[in-house]
Amino acid sequence: MSGQLKEVRERITSVNSTQQITKAMKMVSAAKLRRAQQAITEMRPYAERLDGILKNILSNMDGGDGGSSFGVDREINSALVIVVTSNRGLAGAFNSNIIKEAVSKINTSYQEVRKAGKLSILCVGKKGLGYFKKRYSDCQIIDQFVNLFDDLSFEHVAEVSTFAMAGFEVGTYDAVDVAYSRFKNAGMQFAQCDQFLPVAKIKPVEGASTTKKDYIFEPDKQKLLQELIPTILQTSFQKYVLDTHASEHGARMTAMDKATENANDLLNDLKVSYNKARQEAITRELSEIVGGAAALGG
């Protein structure tokens, strides 16, 4: 029976070390999450002010957004889907949820485009790349930005949105969608797929035209919009990436917390069976001694 004892002891050690790993991963994710959240908060004032300026121009302009080249609705013959996933797994259903969103978008909207071989998929993050490379070999997979998460500075991330915008402008893509994970809090992330291009028509805010001042616009409203809209698009793409980044760590934190908890339960069970086996062994040994002594004394 001492064989079983040893077995249980070995299992306890192995579960223990696994638990240490999950605990450490949880802690690392918590720290990274804090930083990721901070990046989101620090970008917010910039994004809000930018939106403010946009509304300002629009409310001083009569009608529409003046036909920016990013707002043109064309017949969709080709499309680009940007899938933002993480580089590593062990984050629960985080990556598969995003991939699911992207796949359902492709199935509902771009079935025809895919058949025509005009569907491109741009993967940020290795997990998405692995999935789509295997199953969507009929599509054009763009992997030049797969390591985007190595450097999350605005200028670096803007390369992707600039790539998408350039593709849209010259007509390579008639629509661009982004599948990402919206960050709500450490426990809640929502995978979703948003339309990136063409941009939804921005309507001037009605009624609330308190900003209707005698602004000087330089060079002029039209040119300002042309400058402003790409920046706004880059900013919203930055937000997608930062959100996904924060979501990844939130999801991993939750997953690792669960794993640590499970390991704890497992350890408790193992300890009980270890003690049982140990007691059995002792009892048996005792009864053997007593039996032996009785035989001798008999």
């Binding site: 004032p45 300002n56 330089e218 060079p219 300002l224 920046t231």
Partner: protein
């Protein structure tokens, strides 16, 4: 007047200043107290600010926007670097 300099990454400056010189798309211009409301895009160049304390700061930028209203100056810039 109050000046806020924002980049997509963080807030660079927030404080009282007496003058701001910016590289506007149509040419460099200086914003002093009670400037008329203006929205302008900025080209590559240098921002110079004079704080109320008298000290001055210089930054180089790649592109950006400036908005002035009611003595509130917002500079939204990209590719910012401090110039010694």
């Amino acid at each position: 007047m109050n000046l806020v300099i924002l980049t997509p990454e963080k807030e660079i400056f927030n404080g009282e200043v007496t003058s701001v010189k910016v590289p506007g798309m149509m040419g460099q211009f200086e914003i002093l107290n009670n400037h008329a409301p203006i929205v302008s895009s900025l080209s590559e160049g240098e921002i110079r600010i004079k704080e109320t304390s008298g000290s001055s700061k210089r930054y180089s930028i790649e592109q950006g926007f400036v908005e002035v209203i009611n003595n509130e100056v917002s500079l939204l810039v990209r590719g910012l670097a401090a110039v010694e």
